[in-house]
């Protein structure tokens, strides 16, 4: 395809001269498909997760005592029987917290252990520490919690009806949708819903707190946000931040679930460790993890849309009611991102988006890959589907008609002007490569001739804003050390949860030094080396930490350049770094030799690096600004089939074209795209959280909560990275973030299911199919669609 706009050089660093391509190129620099840095250790068992570390001598194990009530006033906790059990060291409750009893990430008011009121079934109210986990678990059953039940609000609809909100609604508005709606030639009101999704990281939440000298504490925490765990542990223990060190080498998956919610597990371990003076480990078993921790927010999405006879939208008034659970947690960010993605790729001339923070007595919903974006986007797509069906048009036509477009249809509901919008060309490319038109016709013929099995086809675009919605979070630090043998230790604030941030940032550093990737060693993330970091979230890991590490490495490289110039008797500007050496003319010096020379010359080989994202700003009073540095784009076409007798379905084919800018590592990026897509497919089809009438989560283990297996992958899956598409913004080697956006490519599967359901009736209206589209929901939608 032809790309609009300028094509940038891969490295815009003014200090570095244009690199002559050396004959001997180093291995594993940027844009190479380098394997995950831990790949071999993953498969031979060498990769240690926190639960795999040898427990320090005297280590205690924690088990949780959780509320049986959805809402209750706690009147007493009787620990006598538990303490009497052999091997039990202590029981901790709210009164045992020496400092401030709060683990809230955003707004105060989320006690680590509730002093008065239990807010959901599963709410930890105490924890038992014992010599081994089995004893702790037995003892936890012996702790008697006394309470007076209070009236719970369990259901999103109930919370909306009662206006039971944690915070005041937020509104994004541009123009005046009221009059525009009443004057529109056509108007539709409708809605859809989407359920909660459990993260189901394979490694459950875990922390190991090890008391040190004086008031110091080291916490190994499975967290995406070591700095926040550090701060919360310090506040809980009433010690300075500097007394707490938090470290994480890797997590067994996180997906947002270990952003704020890791603090509970780390906090409990730290409090018990401080109380006993002994190391304490808390690893949630699967049922506890699912029962205790929050999920992706469920949403009820309702719109009122005005449009013309072609399907062009004139005005939108949309309400996005998010189920936050019992506490605020990260819901302000989630709602803000839901609203800022309720446009997806479409221009709304007049728009009002209202976000509701619904409080329910359930787990506190939290960050999950996409962070509200997927739910907002789903509203847009369902609305576009409804418009198209009401007009009897192919939804693709209506989607194209409403895409952001120059010159005067580029302003988002949050008043950011869309720049470098790649969706129209990407749709053209994918429509051609997926043979959309022919298949559309073929599927329509098939559906006309078959009344038991119906097939569906849909295209969905994804435009995802990159940057934390909160501008102050968009900063990062790194620490790079070059040793005198030329080996490099790399530290940064990014945490490794499988997404490959370690290898990608290491590739950036290898590229800067012109050395093999094998010479760069990523080390565990620790607050002791790089302080005051942001969470590894919002797809920002490689963008932020890559730039910080790049800056640190460049600082060292420039120092080394001066030494190399002396060694090679050349002008510093003529020195280049490539092929594991510094080169000037026909003279070279090996990178290790040069490092040794630097040390001899008393030149520092260590540097920090720091980066803050430029251009971004956002006013949280008016909800206007430029929250996103740039957008990542993707387009997917999916084909499915449904069984109209049972509601069972099958994915048949998916074609994806995704925009990662100039990829730092196509292998890793492809993995993010495939994995994100399948995770999204699970969210929209089979992963269903079910609570009973008392607020007990019934789906708290893989026996009842079903994530996709190998058979759920479309047998025909074709994934392409958008080629020759460097980021127009000055990101690390012009790459784009890739962690979250691909999840929403699965919207195409859900829309294809709606298309198949639509084929069961005479048309004229969209399928009444919510998400997750389980066989039960599909069958119900089929029956509602039949003439």
């Amino acid at each position: 395809m032809t790309r609009r706009g300028p094509v940038f050089a891969p490295d815009d660093n003014a200090a570095a001269p244009a690199r002559a391509r050396p004959t001997a190129r180093h291995k594993g620099g940027v844009s190479e498909t380098a394997p995950h840095d831990s790949a071999l250790r993953h498969v031979d068992g060498g990769a240690k997760y926190i639960d795999d570390m040898s427990e320090p001598a005297g280590c205690l194990h924690l088990a949780l005592v959780t509320s049986e009530w959805a809402h209750a006033r706690i009147t007493g906790i009787d620990t006598a029987k538990a303490l009497a059990l052999d091997g039990v060291a202590t029981v901790i409750a709210a009164g045992d917290i020496p400092g401030e009893n709060d683990m809230a990430p955003v707004m105060p008011g989320e006690p680590l252990l509730p002093p008065e009121v239990a807010e959901y079934v599963g709410h930890p109210v105490a924890a038992v520490a014992a010599a081994d986990f089995e004893t702790a678990r037995q003892a936890a059953k012996l702790v008697e919690v006394h309470g007076e039940p209070l009236q719970p609000v369990l259901d999103l609809d109930d919370a909306i009806a009662r206006e039971h909100y944690l915070l005041a609604p937020i509104v994004f508005q541009r123009g005046d949708p009221g009059p525009a709606l009443s004057e529109a030639p056509r108007r539709l009101q409708g809605g859809t819903r989407v359920g909660c999704q459990d993260h189901f990281y394979l490694e459950t939440q875990v922390a190991l707190a090890v008391p040190q000298e004086d008031d110091e504490m080291v916490v190994y925490s499975g967290t995406q946000h070591p700095t926040e765990v550090q701060h919360i542990v310090a506040h809980l223990l009433a010690v300075p931040h500097a007394a707490v060190q938090v470290e994480v080498r890797r997590m067994g998956g996180a997906f947002g679930g270990k952003e704020s919610q890791a603090s509970l597990v780390a906090g409990l371990a730290a409090v018990a460790a401080a109380k006993t003076g002994r190391p304490v480990k808390l690893r949630l078993d699967r049922d506890s993890d699912m029962l205790v921790t929050g999920k992706r927010h469920a949403f009820k999405l309702d719109w009122d849309v005005g449009f013309d006879d072609d399907g062009r939208i004139l005005a939108v008034d949309m309400q996005l009611a998010g189920q936050c659970g019992w506490s605020v947690d990260l819901s302000p960010g989630v709602l803000s991102r839901a609203l800022s993605h309720a446009d997806n790729a479409y221009y709304y001339p007049h728009v009002r988006l209202t976000g509701l923070f619904c409080k329910t007595n359930t787990q506190s919903n939290t960050a999950f890959r996409g962070f509200g974006g997927p739910q907002g986007m789903l509203a847009a797509e369902a609305m576009l589907d409804a418009i198209a069906r009401s007009l009897g048009k192919d939804p693709l036509e209506v989607r194209r008609l409403n895409l952001y477009a120059a010159p005067d249809r580029l302003l988002t509901p949050y008043h950011q002007t869309v720049e470098h919008f790649r969706i129209p060309e990407m749709i053209d490319q994918l429509v051609a490569s997926s043979d959309y038109a022919r298949r559309r016709a073929e599927i329509d013929r098939f559906n006309a001739g078959n009344d038991v099995i119906k097939r569906g086809l849909a295209l969905a675009p994804v435009k995802f804003g990159i940057s934390f919605n909160k501008p102050e979070m968009n900063q990062a630090g790194a620490l790079v050390n070059v040793y005198t043998d030329g080996s490099v230790a790399l530290n940064h604030g990014g945490t490794e949860m499988g997404q490959g941030v370690f290898v990608k940032v290491a590739q950036v550093v290898a590229e800067v030094f012109g050395i093999d990737l094998t010479a760069v060693r990523a080390t565990a993330t620790t607050t002791a080396k790089v302080p005051n970091t942001s969470p590894t979230a919002a797809s920002s890991g490689s963008d932020l930490n890559g730039m910080a590490a790049k800056q640190a490495a460049e600082t060292i490289r420039e120092r080394m350049r001066a030494v190399a110039a002396e060694q090679l008797e050349a002008d510093a500007r003529a020195v280049t770094f490539a092929g594991n050496q510094a080169v000037a003319g026909n003279k070279t010096i090996g990178f290790g030799e040069l490092a040794q020379a630097c040390h001899q010359a008393r030149v520092s080989l260590s540097s920090t690096g720091y980066y803050r994202t430029p251009k971004i700003h956002f006013d949280r009073e008016t909800n206007r600004g430029r929250p996103f540095y740039y957008y990542a784009h993707g387009v997917a076409v999916s084909e499915v089939a449904i069984d109209t007798l049972t509601g069972e379905w099958k994915p048949l084919r998916t074609d994806i074209l995704h925009d990662v800018g100039s990829s730092l590592n196509p292998g890793v990026d492809r993995g993010q795209i495939e994995g994100g897509f399948i995770q999204g497919l699970g969210w929209l089809t089979m992963e269903e959280c079910v609570w009973d009438a008392e607020g007990r989560l019934l789906t708290h283990a893989p026996s009842t909560y079903k994530i996709p297996t190998a058979r759920d992958v479309p047998r025909d899956l074709r994934i392409e990275l958008l080629q020759n598409a460097p980021n127009e913004e000055a990101t690390a080697f012009r790459s784009k973030a890739v962690g979250e956006p691909p999840l929403m490519l699965a919207n195409s599967v859900w829309l294809a299911l709606r298309d198949a359901v639509h084929a069961c009736g005479p048309g004229g209206r969209a399928a009444a199919l919510d998400a997750p589209a389980t066989p039960e929901k599909i069958l119900r939608a089929v029956e509602a669609m039949r003439p």
Partner: protein, 479 residues
Amino acid sequence: MTELQFTLNGSPRRVADQPAHRMTLDWLRAQGLRATKEGCAEGDCGACTVLLDRGQTRADGTPDWRAVCACILPLAQLDGCRVVTTEGLSDGQGQPHPAQTAMAEQFATQCGYCSPGFVMSLAAIATRPERDDDSLMDALAGNLCRCTGYRPILDAARSLPVTQPRPNDPALDAGQQDRRTTRLDYTAPDGGRFVAPTTLDELAALRAALPDAWLWAGGTDLGLKVTKDGAHPPTILSLDRLDALHEVRSTDDGGLVVGAAAPYADMLDRLAALAPDLASYFRRLGGAQIRNIGTVGGNLGTASPIGDSLPALIALDAGVELIGPRGRRRVAAADFVTGYRQTVMAADDLIAAIRVPPPTPGSRFAGYKIAKRVDQDISGVSGCFRIAVADDGTVAELRAAFGGVAPRPLRATGTEAFLTGKPWTRETARAARSAVLEDISPISDARGTADYRKAVAANLVERLWHDTAGQGVTRLEAL
């Protein structure tokens, strides 16, 4: 005998200090072998997959390595076996096993937590030459990955050479083989016992002497009482060494006898010979690790309202053979479960075998499992049918059975009566709806609402019609 003996990663091990209910996973991790992970402690995620050789050989003479979930496998059950964990995989030449290199090189790991489990399932796949995509997905259905989207793992599986998990290991020596044919009686330091008798008489005597003992077949359901509820059985009576309960054989008349303690995996081929739909139905029961350990006898014994095997057995007119102090008797599958978690069995009865008669000439079996996920999910509704249509197009004979729609799996006698003798048309299939609804009484739970279960159960009769007489594409499997 107060000691367990087995071979772990090529080295002989003797264990005498563990509780009788200790699970293999917990012991491995306590030994510092921490490649094997706990992801769910219920045999549903596969992160704890290890390979087990119980001294059986395949037709080609190679050891019958089976992938199993260590989280619900009692350590005592390893006695007399060889076990391989991720740490012990080897190509014999100092390099990683091909399953490991294939996974690492093909981006089949991301977070890595599920990877050792996948590696072990791949190592099990690698021992077998026959390998199509369907069988690969069957072999991997018991392993969950949350990061990769599976495609690279499937590619890695497709690329495997045929190889053993540890090529240079000696096979089980004679001493170990002997262990498996003699009674195991392990008494733990805490007094708990794990006893594996070898004859039915021994078992009967033990049951009489130890009335609190847990009768343990595959343990894929019972194991959860230990891992999830923290229960500590005083004695586990394992059926693992009772050859009499492991027999799977075809009868002279073309029927099938399945020993109650034979794992599902051992009967799939014979089920396929009986009726193709039967094997594909049972293949959706659990993942490979569960089918390698779980048993039909256990599935019947739990008397679950869903119990996926029972609707199939009812539709096939199978019999359940019981052994008790008063001798052997046979109960029709349809009569075996009498109510919610209740069976016809007396406290001292034992399920010995399932007897499946040969299919009546001209009849066809069809089994449907309706669940949120195709693989390794417990049915919301299951429906199994055996139907014979007469030359005049009427229903000559029908057996219909449902699971998940009543306190017990049941034979839908009203549905059978309604349809028998009627013309087998789409209209009659649809008209059977009210009869089906009379037969069943579903409730709502995490797997589906009562309304959905009613709708699907009724529609399954029409689904059956399409599968026996319909035109065009009538099944998702055809696409």
